[in-house]
Amino acid sequence: MIQVAGLTKRAGGTQILRGLNFEVAPQTVLGIIGASGSGKTTLLRCLNGLERIDGGAIECDDVRLAAELAPADYQRRVRALRRKVGTVFQHLHLFPHLSVLDNIIEAPVHVLRVPRTEAEARALELLEALGLRSAAGRFPESLSGGEQQRVAIARALAMRPSVLLFDEPTSALDPRRSAEMRALLRRFAAEGHTLVVVSHALSFLIGLADSLLYMEGGEIVERGPTDQLLAAPQDARTRDFLQQAK
């Protein structure tokens, strides 16, 4: 479960996020939509601590990250927050010098100090579940885009996060793969994860997201259950965006 209160972020004098308030209920999927430059990705980067927030607070389970914390304290909370939050980047950022298996066990072994054999067993389970068991010894560059994405997901899942963040998960997938990915993400939610998915592909979010959040100019314009927001958008700007997206 995530709670965001009064979140602001500035960069070089411009306000990128202007006081966001929202929460995501446990085991639900939130889809974030909006045009490029609306602040979606920055929001996601705030949620995993890659951007330092300038105002407000982010709460995830029992970790509360607030802008007013002293730097050392802030850093500690960021690290605690990252234990709760797993990220799958748009460009994946797999480690090219490590095999698929090593990509997955790197953080559990060196951050959580899980014994290597245990970490490997768990990684193989994850790969099995993602249909990638045979790729364990290969290097990322030899995999297809879809396979690489599933490795990135397995890498995030290996840290047992309660929240998963996805940035544009369909950007490298064809329609059939997109449908599979949707089913996969749905399964994660069913298994107990809370998901935040940033995507400009509205069709991908339909049937996946429990609720949608529309952003424009660093503000939340509208937020509601997916069906409701699509069927009857309250704000003219949302209506306009949905019109264009169709």
Partner: protein, 505 residues
């Protein structure tokens, strides 16, 4: 386009003609006597006037003026380097050597000598407080500094006394003061000028071992030799030479003896060899042994310096990339200083400048540290480029998996950066191997110094050059080969693992 080229060619041709014309006109005026000598640390022979640094003075300068006048020639001074002076004469850069040249047996094989114009003696100098050394025999277990390629250095070699060659007397006497060596053996004229006035030094014993100075000439230049000999005769007889030597405080009884010899039968001039200090013949096993020893020093310098460079380069790179503002400025200052000034100047500074702050390192250590500090600046830039080549996403992915910056750097960034940095690092290492040769400037006996000294002593520039090059290649080629293998292994590990996985599946 073609027009401008034609213009350029025309201009060049005109310039060439002009040069030729003025040259021939001048040649008709009066023949030139081009004389070579080393003016650096060259007092009292020939040196830059301290009061007017653009003019050369010295007793030999005045003597040459007198000689040239007697020969009806116009003297033209060609500044050169003492160590290689014989070879430089042979290749025709000047007509005569007039630089306190001693007629040694090995030189006699390469060039001709005039009759002697001066009789010198050697003087041993020690530190003021030294009570251990009184004669050369007291130096058997100590190191004596001297000028390279001189009668003094040959005497020391002959007596099997450990010695270090210097390019000029200043460096030798300074190292004596700094306790890097125990004594200095030098011709009296130099000793008079550079050590006699120094309150921290004193002469050990009286001057000994007579020798002569002669004019060096190319073999076959017999007409010139006759002219030079006649001119020496003339300025000796008419007292010009005595006047000059007295002015420079160099006249003594030995010079009077030399003048008396003029009246003796011509065979007296053959007694030159009576003063000869060496009959050392070139011996190949000895030369190879000395080269091998020098090669070991080169290897030590290269590896030691590279270790320093590798160790210091990373903090510099990180400081420049990630440090606070002031750390960045310091790192940048360091890098720009060491990259922007010649390594030779840095070594001279470390060797001769640092003692002023009370830090007098031995020569080999100075070279090792100096090259290390210098190459650290270059390595830091290799590291920096390699680190910057790693996409920011790699850091971010590491952070979002909960890694600390240190862990991310060690496990994710560094292994990838290393692969990128390996080829340029190999490159630098190979060039460091060759750069160790600048250590000759501070009298470290490494491979290039050894080449210079052995080749100067024997004139075997060609053959020794080939051998020394082979030594360098023997050292640098395996390095390059190892690095290439490492590179390939790093590359292959990925491919092989991929294939293995494929097969297993």
């Amino acid at each position: 386009m073609t027009k401008s080229i034609r213009c350029l060619c025309g201009a060049l041709a005109a310039l060439l003609l002009l040069t030729l014309a003025t040259g021939s006109v001048r040649a008709q005026e009066q023949p030139v006597l081009r004389w070579g000598a080393d003016p650096s640390g060259g007092a009292p022979y020939v040196f830059a006037d301290p009061a007017r640094p653009d003019e050369y003075i010295g007793y030999e300068k005045e003597m040459v003026d007198a000689l040239a006048a007697a020969m009806g020639r116009r003297p033209e001074f060609v500044p050169t380097d003492w160590e290689t002076i014989v070879s430089t004469l042979q290749r025709g850069s000047f007509d005569v050597i007039i630089n306190g040249l001693e007629p040694t047996a090995d030189r006699a094989r390469q060039i001709n000598f005039s009759k002697p114009y001066y009789i010198f003696q050697l003087q041993l100098t020690v530190r003021r407080e030294d009570e251990r050394i009184h004669t050369l025999a007291d130096c058997r277990q100590r190191t004596v500094g001297t000028l390279g390629n001189t009668a003094a250095s040959r005497l020391l070699a002959q007596e099997a006394i450990p010695f270090r060659s210097y390019a000029d007397p200043v460096g030798a006497y300074r190292d004596l003061e700094l306790r890097r060596i125990d004594a200095v053996l030098m011709d009296v004229p130099m000793e008079m000028y550079y050590a006699r006035q120094n309150p921290r030094l004193k002469p050990a014993g009286a001057p000994f071992q007579r020798g002569t100075y002669v004019v060096g000439l190319r073999k076959g230049d017999d007409a010139l030799k006759a002219q030079v000999d006649a001119a020496i005769d003339k300025i000796m007889r008419d007292g010009t030479l005595e006047r000059i030597l007295r002015k420079w405080n160099l006249w003594d009884d030995a010079q009077a003896e030399l003048r008396a010899q003029l009246e003796a039968p011509p065979s007296a001039s053959n007694s030159n060899t009576a003063f000869d200090l060496t009959n050392a013949t070139f011996n190949w096993p000895e030369a190879i042994l000395r080269l091998t020893r020098a090669a070991c020093v080169t290897v030590l310098l290269a590896f030691g310096a590279m270790l320093i460079a590798l160790a210091l380069g990373m903090p510099l790179a990180l400081g420049q990339l990630k440090g606070a503002k002031w750390v960045q400025s310091i790192c940048t200052l360091y890098i720009e200083f060491f990259r922007g000034t010649p390594v030779l100047v840095q070594l001279l500074f470390l060797y001769f400048g640092l003692p002023a702050l009370g830090i007098a390192l031995p020569g080999w250590l100075t070279a090792l540290v100096g090259l290390g500090l210098n190459y650290a600046a270059y390595e830091s830039q290799v590291y920096r480029a390699a680190l910057e080549a790693i996409p920011r996403g790699q850091w971010e992915a590491s952070y979002s998996l909960g890694m600390t910056p240190v862990l991310a750097f060690r496990r994710i960034i560094l292994p990838q950066a290393f692969r990128i940095a390996l080829p340029p690092m190999t490159n630098d290492f190979v060039s460091l191997f060759k750069d160790t040769s600048v250590a000759f400037a501070i009298s470290v006996w490494e491979l290039a110094t050894a080449y210079r000294e052995l080749a100067n002593a024997t004139g075997q520039f060609m053959l020794l050059g080939v051998i020394v090059s082979a030594f360098y290649l023997l050292m640098s080629l395996p390095m390059a080969h190892l690095a290439r293998r490492l590179e390939r292994r790093l590359q292959r590990r990925q491919t092989v693992a991929a294939v293995q996985a494929e097969v297993a599946a």
